[in-house]
Symmetry: C2
Subunit: 250 residues, 2 copies
DNA sequence: GATGCCTAAAAGTAGGACATATTGGCAAAT
DNA sequence: ATTTGCCAATATGTCCTACTTTTAGGCATC
């Protein structure tokens, strides 16, 4: 080395406890931590997160990393930051709850039953119409993707991760096939909802019902270009799934 | 001054042309600029945005500010950034198109007709159901908010900004009243859609139809706790509005 | 009581040094 | 020849420090 080293990271004892910051960068870990604390109400709307210098020191990170974390939270509508005023938690209606990261933070902390119900209700609103549109607009590629996903569900079943991934893939393919870019951007959000609906069903239900027949009915309706049948069968699928969920939660 | 000044910002000629960075911080301006360029396809999915040092120098900003801009774009699902690999535009399905900022960037650049239609279609899916739920769950406060909004629309008309704001407020109040936190977080997104739907109607239509009667019908159905009527009247409102829009675009 | 300046506090920007993590090539072993 | 594994180049990630800009909120003035 020909350049002198001014500083070396010698004091960093490799603490064994590494919380949830497994493979995350520091700013991501801070954003996740603060985001989760905001979502759980530890920092209620209107709360002040403190000055950047104090807060970053308290967390043991540089101001740069802390600021990048705050930028992430701002981008997701959780907080607001202005000179002299500081960083404040925004009112709930400003939060982008459908952001995939926020959903992940939400579920990783406390799988809030009420919110799971809300999310499920939203699925019930969106997916039947998406299925109807898919029946009108799906390309052969989309239909193939749905069929592949159904094969995966058949092969692995909904108890195995592969089967659950196939389930998500099926619902994503339908949203994709609806040919609406706004709906497509809900794939990540609805995907998370599907994931947790499945989680509740598989882990908390004594005899999780096999929903494969309903999925097949949806697919056949779409493949037959029958929008009304697609809407109806998807609504039926979700009605049954909703019944399962309510039974578990109640 | 008792402290010596090491550096002064003497070379910053106060350029008269200040683009769209009117009251924005630098990192916000960069995020807006890059975000818009990604949305318009100037940087297509998979494209590399270049190294942070080069890119920040090329834009005439510090690496700090540039990095904060990139963090924002990452948070919105537009790009991905990894050591050695660089910063790449993500595939479209990863974009959070319903993020209010992204919608703003989208519309400020090129009011893409196709996307406006998609967004409008999404309204047609969500809002009738939201109205039905609102009929079941709206509190007196929610009903008052809707009535105030209707008053505003009556008083100012849809040609004036105040009336347009009241229109947005009416639709927001319904989403709020649906008592579903996932729907509430769509207020910002749907609000943008309402804004631009109104824009098209008022600026490109020779005789913009007054949609006040349909709005009142929706309100009366909700106030009467008639979910089915609320769904029907909202669907009717959107059907007419959609007709207006199609007529203008085509 | 409304208006407008003024100050201090906090966020915003800059830039340099160093740390860390990937990718991809090169070399050695199979 | 193919695979495996190491290594180094490169770009992002982190930290620090100094400085600039904005703005909330107090204070004086009108």
């Amino acid at each position: 080395m020909d350049v002198p080293r001014i500083k070396k990271n010698a004091d960093a004892a490799p603490s064994r406890r590494r919380r949830k910051s497994e493979g995350l960068r520091i700013h991501q870990a801070i954003a996740c931590k603060l985001g989760s604390q905001i979502l759980t109400g530890h920092y209620p709307p209107g709360a002040n997160l403190g000055g950047e210098i104090d807060a970053s020191e308290k967390l043991g990170v540089s101001r740069t990393a802390y600021r990048e974390a705050i930028r992430i939270l701002i981008a997701k509508g959780l907080v607001d930051s202005r000179p002299k005023a500081g960083t404040h938690v925004l009112p709930r209606r400003r939060w982008n709850l459908l952001d995939p990261d926020i959903l992940a933070w939400m579920f990783s902390e406390s799988p809030d039953e009420e919110f799971v119900r809300d999310l499920f209700e939203l699925r019930g609103i969106i997916e039947p119409e998406a299925a109807a549109l898919a029946a009108l607009r799906a390309s052969d590629d989309h239909l193939n993707a749905m069929e592949d996903a159904l094969d995966g569900m058949r092969r692995y079943g909904l108890a195995k991760p592969e089967g659950q991934a196939a389930d998500q893939e099926f619902h994503s393919a339908i949203l994709d096939a609806a040919g609406n870019r706004a709906l497509t951007s809900l794939v990540g959000s609805v995907g998370a909802a599907v994931r947790w609906t499945t989680y509740f069903k598989q882990n908390l239900s004594p005899h999780p019902r096999n929903s494969l027949p309903e999925h097949e009915a949806v697919f056949h309706a779409i493949a037959a270009r029958d929008a009304e049948a697609a809407r109806r069968s998807m609504a039926h699928l979700l009605l049954l799934a909703r019944g399962d969920l309510v039974e578990i939660i109640a």
